[in-house]
C-alpha cells in the first residue's frame, strides 16, 4: 500500500464507475463565513490567544505602514501592503507548529515576519539587494513567490515528501483570489487531494487582483466551493476576524496533521491600501467601498472584543502600541543602512559550481570593477 492510499475515501470503484465515491455534502462550505469576534463563540476563545493575536496584528499594521513609508524614502523598491488583511497574515503564521512550513505569496511579508523571520531579511526582495533574503530552512518559510500560484504545487510536494519520510509536517500555502484562476492553483489542489497530502490552502479573497474585482475573476458561489471539485473540504471564514481565521486554520492544520488530507480555506477580507505603493487604487474603486471595510477592521475587531470583554486594559494597549513603535523605529533604522553588496554574487549561486562560461563572465566583471575602482581612486 502506498502512502497515498493510507486513507479512507481513496479507492477506485468497481464498474459501473459512476457512483459518487464520496458524498459532496461534507466538502461544501457553509453559506456564511465563520466568525468568532463579536459573536457568542468569542466567549469560548482563549483570552491569551486573543491578546496574542491583537499584539501581532498591531505590530503587523505598523509594519505595513512603516514599509510603505520606506518606499517613499527610496529604501524599498516596492511594497505590497497587507493593511486590512493582518488577521489572515497573523493567523496563518500562528496556526503552524515549529516543524511546519509556510508558503507565502508575494504580499505575505507579514506572515513571514510573524513566523519569526528577520523583518529586514524579509524585505530583501522588495529592497532589491537580493531575491530571497532569508534562509528558507531556518524558519521553514519558502521564498516569497512572485509568479502567482506557482508556490502551491511546491507546498504540496514538500508536504508529500515529509509524509513519505514519516515526518510530522504540515504545509500552509497562501494565495490571492486572483491567483485561484491560474492553472497552478488547480493542479496543486488536485495533486494534494489525490496524494492526500497534509496541506492547507489559504485563499485571501481581498476583493481584487490589482484592479480586477472578484466578479471578473470567478462566477463561483464562493472560492471555497472550489474545494468540492478536488474532493477536499472547503471552509469559508471572515478574513478580518483573526480569532475565526486562527480557529479555522488551526482546525485544518490539525486535520492535515492527523492524516485527514488537505483543506481549502477562503478568508474574505479587503485590501485597504492600493495594490502596491506604485498603484493608484482610485482608478478602479470608490472611497465609499474602502470606508465600508474600515468599519470591519481586523485590528479594531480584536481591540473591541478585548476591551469590550475587559480582557485588556489601557496600559496593555499602550504597551502593545509602544512595542510596535519600537519595532518600526528599529526597522527604519536598519533599513536606512545601505545593504552591503558584492556584484560578484551574480555568479556565485547559479550552479553549485560556476561553469567555465560563468567563470569567463566573472573575470570580465571583476576586471571592470577593478578598472572602476582604480578610476575612483585616481579621481
Amino acid at each position: 500500500m502506498t502512502v497515498m492510499e493510507q486513507r479512507g475515501a481513496y479507492r477506485p470503484s468497481p464498474p459501473p464507475a459512476w457512483q459518487p465515491r464520496t458524498d459532496p455534502a461534507p466538502l461544501l462550505p457553509d453559506a456564511e463565513p465563520h466568525r468568532v469576534l463579536g459573536t457568542e463563540a468569542a466567549a469560548k476563545a482563549d483570552p491569551e490567544l486573543l491578546r496574542r493575536l491583537y499584539a501581532q496584528a498591531v505590530l503587523g499594521r505598523r509594519y505595513n505602514t512603516q514599509a510603505t513609508a520606506l518606499t517613499k524614502q527610496g529604501r524599498l523598491a516596492v511594497y505590497p501592503s497587507s493593511t486590512g488583511q493582518e488577521a489572515c497574515e497573523i493567523a496563518a503564521a500562528l496556526a503552524l507548529q515549529e516543524q511546519d512550513w509556510l508558503f507565502p505569496s508575494y504580499r505575505d511579508t507579514l506572515a513571514v515576519v510573524a513566523r519569526g523571520v528577520d523583518p529586514v531579511e524579509t524585505l530583501t526582495l522588495l529592497r532589491g539587494d537580493w531575491h530571497t533574503g532569508y534562509d528558507p530552512y531556518e524558519h521553514r518559510v519558502a521564498p516569497l513567490s512572485t509568479p502567482l500560484a506557482t508556490q502551491l504545487p511546491h507546498a504540496v510536494g514538500l508536504a508529500h515528501a515529509a509524509r513519505l519520510k514519516g515526518d510530522d509536517v504540515v504545509a500552509l500555502a497562501m494565495v490571492g483570489d486572483g491567483g485561484t484562476s491560474e492553472g497552478d492553483f488547480h493542479e496543486a489542489l488536485n495533486f494534494a487531494a489525490v496524494w492526500h497530502a497534509p496541506v492547507v490552502f489559504l485563499v485571501q479573497n481581498n476583493g481584487f487582483a490589482i484592479s480586477v474585482p472578484l466578479a471578473k475573476q470567478t462566477a463561483a458561489p464562493s472560492l471555497a466551493h472550489k474545494a468540492v471539485g478536488y474532493g477536499m473540504p472547503g471552509r469559508l471564514v471572515d478574513g478580518n476576524d483573526a480569532a475565526a481565521v486562527h480557529e479555522v486554520l488551526t482546525d485544518a492544520v490539525r486535520h492535515a496533521r492527523e492524516g485527514g488530507g488537505p483543506t481549502l480555506v477562503e478568508a474574505v477580507t479587503y485590501r485597504i491600501d492600493a495594490h502596491t505603493n506604485a498603484d493608484d487604487a482610485t482608478r478602479y474603486r470608490g472611497a465609499a467601498e474602502v470606508e465600508a471595510w474600515r468599519d470591519h477592521d481586523p485590528v479594531q475587531l480584536l481591540e473591541r472584543e478585548l476591551t469590550g470583554r475587559g480582557l485588556i486594559g489601557e496600559d496593555e494597549i499602550a504597551a502593545v502600541r509602544e512595542e510596535a513603535e519600537t519595532m518600526a523605529a528599529r526597522l527604519r533604522e536598519r533599513m536606512n543602512q545601505d545593504p552591503v553588496l558584492d556584484p560578484m554574487d551574480l555568479f556565485a549561486h547559479v550552479y553549485a559550481e560556476p561553469t567555465s562560461q560563468l567563470r569567463e563572465q566573472q573575470a570580465l566583471l571583476r576586471a571592470e570593477l577593478e578598472a572602476e575602482a582604480e578610476e575612483g581612486t585616481a579621481r
Binding site: 532589491g128 553588496l341 547559479v350
Partner: protein
C-alpha cells in the same frame, strides 16, 4: 509634407495611440489581458480604451495567462484580431504551451485554412528596478519557435508603426515592448498620419565605417550612446536596429557588416543561447571573407536576472560595448 509641428510623446503614448487607431479602424480588434480595462494596464498602455470602446473590446480577463492566450486563439479562429497583453515577460511563461503548440502552429497545421491574426504584447527587459520575474529578456524562446513573428521597437515612431503592422498582420506576432523605453520621449506627432513600417526591415540608426553594432529594442539607445563615445577613441560606429527578430533582415545587416568589416551584437538577453548567437552565426556565414575579426557579442550574463541593486552590472553598458569594439583586432590604420 505636413506643416504640423511635432510634439514630444512617450513610447507608451505611441503604443496607446496605435491600439486606439487599430481599434477604431477595425471592429475585429479586441484588447484583452490582466488589468487592461479599468486600470488601463500597469504601464497605462491601454489607458482609456475600455472607456472609449467598451469592456467587450478591451477586457479585463481572469488572472490566467494560458487562459488569456488560449481564449484569444479561439477568438482569432472566429475572425477577431485579439491583442493580448501579458503583464510582464516572466508572466507570459504560463502561456508557453498555447504559444508554441497552437499559436505558432495553427496556420501550418491547417494548411493555411486557419490563420491566427493575433498580437501578443509583452513588456520585456530590465533597467527599471523590478524585482525578480519582472525583467526577463525572453526573446530567445520566441525566436526559436517557427510560426511566430517577433518584433520590438526602439523608438516612439516605431512603437506606433510596428504595433499597427503587428495588428494588421495575418500571422501571430510577439510584440516585445522594452519596458525601460516606455517613458522615452521623441518628437512625434500623433495627429499626423503615420507610416506603418512593414514587419521585417532593420534600419541603420547611425552610419559609420569602422564597425557595426547590431542591436534591437532597449539596447538601441545604449549603442547610439556608445557610438558617440567611440568617436573619442577614433571609431566611427554604425548602429543597426533590427526591429524585427523574425523575420530577420539579413540584407540590411550584412550590407552594413560587409561595409565595415567588423561587428558586435549587443543585447540584454543572456548571451548563451541568446539571440546574439544566431545573429553572429548568420552574419559570419554570409560575410566571412569581409570580416576582419570574429563577430563579438555583448550580452547580459548567463545568470538569472539580478536584483534591482545589481542590475547595472548585468546590463550591457557603454563601457562594455566599447571594450568589445576594442577587441575587434584593430590595426592602427583600420579605424
Amino acid at each position: 509634407m505636413s506643416t504640423v509641428a511635432l510634439k514630444p510623446a512617450t513610447m507608451a503614448q505611441a503604443l496607446t495611440r496605435a491600439l486606439r487607431d487599430a481599434m477604431a479602424a477595425d471592429p475585429a480588434v479586441h484588447v484583452m489581458g490582466e488589468d487592461v480595462g479599468t486600470l488601463g494596464g500597469v504601464f497605462r498602455v491601454t489607458d482609456g480604451l475600455a472607456k472609449e470602446f467598451g469592456e467587450d473590446r478591451c477586457t479585463d480577463t481572469p488572472l490566467a495567462e494560458a487562459g488569456i492566450l488560449g481564449t484569444a486563439v479561439g477568438m482569432a479562429m472566429y475572425g477577431l484580431r485579439p491583442v493580448v497583453e501579458m503583464q510582464f515577460d516572466a508572466f507570459a511563461y504560463p502561456a508557453f504551451e498555447q504559444l508554441v503548440s497552437h499559436v505558432a502552429k495553427m496556420r501550418n497545421r491547417t494548411r493555411g485554412k486557419m490563420p491566427l491574426p493575433l498580437t501578443i504584447r509583452i513588456p520585456y527587459g530590465g533597467g527599471i528596478g523590478g524585482v525578480e520575474h519582472h525583467s526577463d529578456s525572453s526573446e530567445a524562446y520566441y525566436m526559436a519557435t517557427p510560426g511566430l513573428h517577433v518584433v520590438t521597437p526602439a523608438t516612439v515612431a516605431d512603437a506606433y508603426g510596428l504595433l499597427r503592422a503587428a495588428i494588421a498582420s495575418d500571422d501571430p506576432v510577439v510584440f516585445l515592448e522594452p519596458k525601460r523605453l516606455y517613458w522615452s520621449k521623441d518628437s512625434w506627432n500623433p495627429d499626423e498620419p503615420q507610416t506603418v513600417e512593414p514587419i521585417g526591415r532593420a534600419v541603420v540608426r547611425r552610419t559609420g565605417r569602422s564597425a557595426t553594432l547590431i542591436t534591437y529594442g532597449p539596447s538601441v539607445p545604449v549603442c547610439l550612446e556608445a557610438a558617440e563615445a567611440a568617436r573619442a577613441e577614433g571609431w566611427d560606429l554604425e548602429v543597426v536596429d533590427l526591429r524585427s527578430l523574425v523575420p530577420f533582415d539579413d540584407e540590411t545587416v550584412c550590407a552594413s557588416v560587409r561595409r565595415t568589416g567588423r561587428a558586435v551584437v549587443v543585447h540584454e538577453s543572456g548571451g548563451f543561447g541568446g539571440p546574439g548567437g544566431e545573429i553572429a552565426a548568420r552574419v559570419t556565414e554570409r560575410c566571412f571573407h569581409y570580416l576582419e575579426a570574429p563577430v563579438l557579442r555583448v550580452a547580459g550574463f548567463d545568470v538569472p536576472y539580478p536584483p534591482p541593486m545589481l542590475e547595472r552590472h548585468h546590463l550591457p553598458g557603454v563601457d562594455r560595448i566599447l571594450d568589445a569594439v576594442a577587441r575587434l583586432q584593430w590595426e592602427a590604420e583600420s579605424r
